[in-house]
């Protein structure tokens, strides 16, 4: 424990008060109200009356809801499975280059798509993929693929398209993160390996991967959580024509509460269920943040 100042509980509370107040209102009260609402049959501006756990029962029986849960988890699993290895390989590739300027330029180029508003990215790709002779098809044709795909009107193509756009948007962030971590790795094992004459692949397998494990796990969890929450990308990409095989949980709640039948109560209940599902995943995050640290003196 640090021995620093006089004990002053009240002052500490005063310092923490602004954050605590905001947190109280915007998380704890929001929680409470969310729970209360989910027990009513509220619809639109009509507050509704208490109907107990009926909403939960209905939601749990709603196939559309379970479909959206399935979509979200499938999307998260596929995205993470593609993005994390790709990002890791690209960052290894970038870091292997001896040119400093080129390295940072490349990282910037990969990162720029992450700066774009997700919704705008969705809209941008919708325009790129609209029509039979769209740019995407021309490029696919150039590389020898089938140039006659009707992307936005084909249900089977919707999910791969979503995964692709998400890949384009998310990978830059992961590359920057991995590169920064690769740079801060302890160099002494590498020197030892070089003296021993270890091959490149065995260095990667025996040194880099174990050292990078925390970073990889952390990124996997964060990416999984943010993929589970996918929402505006779908809205931007499929604005007028959203198939149910790309309707994620959050979009389901949004549509239910603000677009379809305005069933606020039912949507709240869905929100609660989604909340616990996602929380379970993100709780893993807590483990990897290193909370037990003390002040380095």
């Amino acid at each position: 424990m640090i021995k620093l100042t006089d004990k002053n509980e009240r002052q500490a509370l005063r310092f923490m008060a602004p954050f605590l107040i905001l947190m109280f209102i915007f998380t704890i009260i929001v929680f409470g109200i969310g729970f209360l609402t989910s027990l009513t049959d509220a619809q639109g501006i009509n507050p509704g009356k208490n109907i107990g756990f009926q909403n939960f029962k209905n939601i749990l029986k709603d196939t559309y809801f379970w479909n959206s849960v399935y979509v979200s988890f499938k999307f998260a699993a596929v995205s993470v499975a593609i993005q994390i290895p790709a990002a890791f390989l690209i960052s290894l590739w970038i870091e292997s280059l001896p040119y400093k300027r080129t390295q940072s330029l490349l990282k910037a180029a990969f990162f720029i798509p992450s700066l774009i508003n997700t919704l705008v990215a969705g809209i941008l790709f919708r325009l790129l993929f609209t029509g039979e002779q769209c740019i995407a098809n021309i490029i696919i044709g150039f590389f020898g693929g089938n140039p006659n795909m009707n992307w936005l009107d084909d249900k089977t193509l919707a999910f791969p398209l979503l995964v692709f756009v998400s890949f384009w948007q998310c990978i830059g962030f992961q590359i920057i993160y991995f590169s920064a971590n690769l740079r801060s790795l302890n160099q002494s094992p590498y020197e030892a390996a070089r003296i021993d004459g270890a091959g490149r692949l065995s260095i990667l397998k025996n040194i880099t991967l174990p050292l990078m494990k925390p970073a990889l796990i952390f990124m996997t969890i964060t990416s999984a959580v943010s993929s589970l929450l996918v929402f505006d990308l779908i809205l931007g990409l499929f604005q007028y024509n959203i198939y149910e095989n790309v309707t994620g949980i959050i979009l389901y709640i949004y549509l239910r509460a603000f677009q379809w039948d305005l069933e606020i109560g039912a949507a709240s209940a869905a929100g609660w269920i989604a909340f616990f599902l996602i929380l379970a995943v993100s709780l893993l995050q807590l483990k990897f943040l290193g909370l037990g640290e003390k002040h380095e003196d």
């Binding site: 602004p18 954050f19 280059l97 929100g271 909340f275």
Partner: protein, 682 residues
Amino acid sequence: MKIENRFPGLDGLRAAACLLVIFHHVAQRLDIYSQHFILQHIQLFFLMGNTGVSFFFVLSGFLLSYPFWKNYISNLDFPDISNYAKRRAARIVPGYYASFAVSTILALLFIPDMDYFARRLITGLTFTAGFHYTTLFPSFVNSPLWSISFEVFSYLLMPVFMFGLFRFTGEKRSFKKGIIYWVFTLLLIIGINQLIHMYLTPDNVKRGWEFGVTGGSKWWMPNYNPIGFFGHFTFGILAGGICAYFIKNKTLRDRIADKNIFDIASIVSSAAIIGLLCYVRTEEEFTHSIQKQPYYFPYLTALISILAVSLVNSKFTGKLFDSRFMRFTAKISFGLYIWHYVIIALISFYILPEYMNYMAIKDWRLWAGASLLMIVISYGAAALSFQFIEKPFIERVQRVREKVFRAKRKIRPGKLLSAFLLCILALLFIFPLLWLLDASLRPPLEVIQSPPAIFQQPIWKSIESYTRDSYLAAFWHFDVGRALFNSIIVSSGTIFLTAIVVSLYAYALVFMEFKHKKFFLILALSTMMIPANALMIPMYKVAKNLHLLNSWFGLILPGAVSGFGVFLLRQYFMRIPLAVIEAARMDGAGHLRIWWHIILPLARPALAALAIIQFRIVWNDFLNPVIIMRDEKLMTLPVRILLINDTGAVLAAGFISIIIPLLLFLKFHRQFTEGLTEGIRK
């Protein structure tokens, strides 16, 4: 800059010049015929404020020639010209380009037809606008930029002539020879100027301010021309030479100074300047000068030079001129000069349409209010411009870096190929954005045609058909400007509040002792785990009950609850040595003071990282704004974009939404990466 600090009084003079120009533009807005007699004459006096430009030229001539004079008098070599060029470029180019870019964007948005636009753009970017009446004003909304190309031309001529002086005199230099040389140069300039008047005077077709900017510049030229203005600059050079001589011969200088001759001279010359401006206030333009030159050349110019010399050597008056306010104004004077007209334009576009026109406002109270607002905003803009655009470049040049000898790298073909492949991959990544830029600039009909226009003809051919139509549609039909403004307000508000709230919390966690510390830490961090999007409905209800719907605070307040921010700052604070805090405690400083005066400045890198991460979250947020901001006028950019039903406008708005994050990232990418890695380095 270092040199300027050594001369007392010149900061004050520079500030006065800057304020004169601003007051001139302020005075232009008021309708003189409906004012009271006294106000009319005050206004007439301030309309003479355009002479401030002449002050600027004399001052530049003085300060820039001084190092040359110093070497000349001390029998040293010709100064390092590349250093001179670098310093000049660093001082002028970044600020000017920023202002020119903003003015050009505003002009594209607000000015319906612009003659010679391409020409003005090119000459504006190359500092050659001043050589023809079709380009004299490179920007339609920021007229004071005309003088920059004149200045740059003088920057070029001065060392050329100085080089001649060093060459001619060779070993046998004397101060007298130098002054005579420059007087002859002045006469030569006046002679050339005469030739310009004889052969290069524009014809009388559509000449005059009633024919718009082009007619106005035709009317100004050749009375205003780069050669003539080098005459003003030469007066400054002569003044610089005299000062260099005085500083070399200290005894002579002190003898004169002790008799207070410099003080008296400065008072007399300032009185004469004010008197002259009062006298000519009712006279016509281009009178009372030789060769119809503006700014009462050479009488006023000579008075300014005398004032400069006497202020620099004076005992009291120099200090009198350099009050704190004047020094601050002088520091940001370049920014004030290049930005204040942009502010005038913005006020006229958004608040008071008449503010753009000459003599358009009848009510002097309205005029005074608008002008005060303009001046206050201009000071803010100029200070920001100095801090973030001009200063970094000036400092970079001033830092003298020793050239590190770098061993020649061996070229490794394998690595080169691998870099090349990666570059192609990276290009594919940004291709959609290049397409976005291209498509947003095409005529709206081309955008929706299939196959896309980008593949129909080579890009350099299609550039000719680029238009601003989509951007105009986005701004005028779909109110994207307001949405952009809303987004900026919400983002900056959130960043500011987060920084305060979170740093206080982290401070308590790290530097204070209290019970259940760990609980409070986990409490804050747990907000990170909450998928807030799942709670959109109760969030909407809470906002509604707190009357936060359709209010910026409805987005800013919840945005400040950043568990990640607490984590980031806590990590950073823990690295600050406790000794720093303890020392401050010993001195009796309270926690609040330590937090504000010691910890926050120390934690600047972490705060920058936090700011950028928060910015990215808020700028890209869609769900919260769509729930909270139901009013069209308050919508943020993404929500607005979703409602646009015109493809061209969507593309334009999309591109606009990228620009700000892109600029921020390019400027702060280092802090950003550092902030990220702070995450889990154990």
